[in-house]
Amino acid sequence: MLTEIAITDRFTITLAAVVYLIAFLYGLTSIGLKKPYSRSLVFALIVVGFILQTIGLNQRGAEIKACPLGNLFEIGQFMAWSLVVLYFIVGPIFQLRTIGIFAAGLAALLSGGTLLVPSWDTPYPPGIFGGNHWIELHAALAIFSYGVFAIVALVSAMYLIQQYGLKKKQFKGIYQYLPSVQQLDTIAYRLLLTGTIVLSASLAFGSFFWIENLNSVPLVKLSMTCLVWAGYLSVVALRTQRRFATKRQAIISILLFLLALASLGPVDAARATTSAQKPAATDQGDIAP
């Protein structure tokens, strides 16, 4: 039963990744050929991809009766899904040109990347959160904040590209489609602040459980998560105190996101080890990150 559903939800998610990839390649090719691209078409493709991904994740969630965050595949999918949700909010509000193409590209990478490694989609018994909704909220918020940080990394990359073009006196090509450096800087900061608040809230919820069950959270998971959180918190603090140059903030935001992504592997491995040592019924809080 689980295998049948897994095939079905993986198929829907695969379709979503393909649609994201089409949106990205269409936008990129148009820019490469110096042809104007249809923003509506990119948006429509992302909507289709999002619907397919939501169906896939919903199928997976219905099966495990919880938010699908039990293995690296699901974490990657949920992160891509969060990224697209944020694109739907950020894109129209800030009217950021080309962010759709970049968002589609990253969503395709996250979604497609996790699909390409079957070992990341290891089966696990239902009830991973042990019926504790606070833990489920902690996990969902943590991964959602990673989605926000993914958008921050995207906006930062767009900033660096635009800044490079302006500094090197490049006029045509992708530069003319990108938003202004000032817009990108402002949005990156607001999103960084949002992501840090969401991650802090997630850690706050998680800490209530952790204080009561000190041995239940692997040290690797704890230290990696705190490292990522402290990194983002430092960037926000330095930026608020105006002690951070815009370019440096953009580079560090990208590096921190890569660190956050890289930390998922060790965190998941630590979770799996801890799960194996304990009976499933008491496996509360073994979630990533």
Binding site: Q163, L166, K169, F171, K172, S180, Q182, A245, T246
Partner: protein
């Protein structure tokens, strides 16, 4: 008499041969142009002469008694400006006879301009010609050459599409400002100096919604006049440095021989407005803004060469029209060459 035409020459250094850093060393002010012209005319071997000096070119047109005048003219030009002769030689050109006619016609039609097809050069050439004629430095040959080149320029422009699709420096500046600030309507502009291109650039920004424009110039009356035209404000030249942090876009076009905005001044202004970018447009020659300011992260400095290069990016689309104009001018140059021959052979 036709021997005269054998020594028609042009010595020049333009944006084709010399980068901005060298052109600003070769550049002359109005008085220096007048003095050079007069000195050239006094040379025993020179019968007629005319000096054209713009942001993109320094050219000496002349009619010499013998074809061996090149060294003399080069030496005079270098000695006046304290330029190393080897440097000047490697960044300049020397043309004679029919090539001079073809070159003058192409320059006046804007084909040789940094922004191909621009019309500003025709006005500058007319000014240079009027000045040389007033000083009686020109005679039959150069008068004919320049008057004919102005007519040929007009004909090349009307018969071809060399000016079609041309992008002005003002439009490039507006597009760059949008890439830096997004919506530019709330940007504050400071215009330093009273150069025509700078004024047009400010005008282009204004037409795109920029409302806050301030003008400063060494002559306050001039600043006041431009500010009135742009519906902006004028400030004293001595005050503008203290207020740099108030502006987002600074356009500078003065005739100052040295930098008027050094890195230290811009660094201090950046500190007063952290995280807000600066767009600096240096339209002066010699340059007004220290190029070292471009090292600052949030500062985007563009000079004449940068903006012209961008404005010319659609040049490929006009390539056929440019070739057509060149061929029309070739015909004019050849006719002029024959006319000058006939004229010089006629008995007085």
């Amino acid at each position: 008499m036709s021997e005269q035409l054998q020594s028609l020459f042009v010595l020049g250094s333009t944006h084709h041969e010399a980068p901005l850093e060298l052109r600003e060393r070769f550049a002359l002010n109005a008085t220096e142009v007048k003095n050079l012209q007069s000195q050239l005319h006094k040379l025993p071997g020179i019968e007629e002469c005319l000096v054209i000096n713009t942001c993109n070119r320094l050219e000496v047109y002349g009619l010499a008694k013998s074809p061996d005048i090149e060294d003399t003219v080069r030496n005079l030009l270098c000695s006046r400006n304290g330029i190393d002769r080897k440097v000047f030689d490697s960044h300049s050109f020397w043309r004679t006879n029919l090539d001079v006619l073809q070159h003058a016609l192409e320059v006046s039609a804007g084909l040789d301009s940094q922004m191909v097809g621009e019309t500003e050069i025709l006005r500058q050439m007319k000014q240079a010609y009027e000045s040389a004629r007033r000083e009686q430095c020109t005679g039959t040959i150069l008068n004919r050459l320049f008057e004919k080149s102005f007519q040929a320029a007009k004909s090349a422009r009307t018969q071809t599409g060399i000016t079609r699709g041309q992008v002005s420096i003002g439009n490039v500046a507006v597009d760059l400002a949008s890439r830096i600030f997004g919506k530019i309507a709330s940007s504050r502009v400071l215009l330093i100096g009273s150069g025509e291109v700078a004024e047009k650039t400010a005008q282009a920004l204004k037409s795109r919604g920029v409302a806050d424009i301030t003008v400063t110039s060494r002559t306050f009356e001039k600043a006041h006049r431009i500010a009135h035209e742009l519906q902006g404000a004028a400030i004293e030249f001595s005050d503008f440095r203290a207020q740099l942090h108030r502006y987002d876009i600074i356009i500078s076009s003065t005739s100052a021989p040295n930098f008027i905005l050094e890195k230290e001044a811009i660094t201090a202004a950046c500190r007063a407005r952290p995280r807000q970018p600066y767009f600096l447009i240096d339209l002066a020659l010699p340059r007004d803004i220290d190029p070292a300011v471009d090292e600052l992260d949030s500062v985007y400095l563009y000079n004449l060469d940068d903006l012209s290069k961008i404005a010319n990016e659609n040049l490929e689309l006009r390539r056929a029209e440019i070739e057509r104009a060149r061929s029309i001018l070739k015909g004019h140059a050849w006719n002029l060459w024959l006319q000058l021959h006939r004229r010089t052979l006629k008995p007085n």
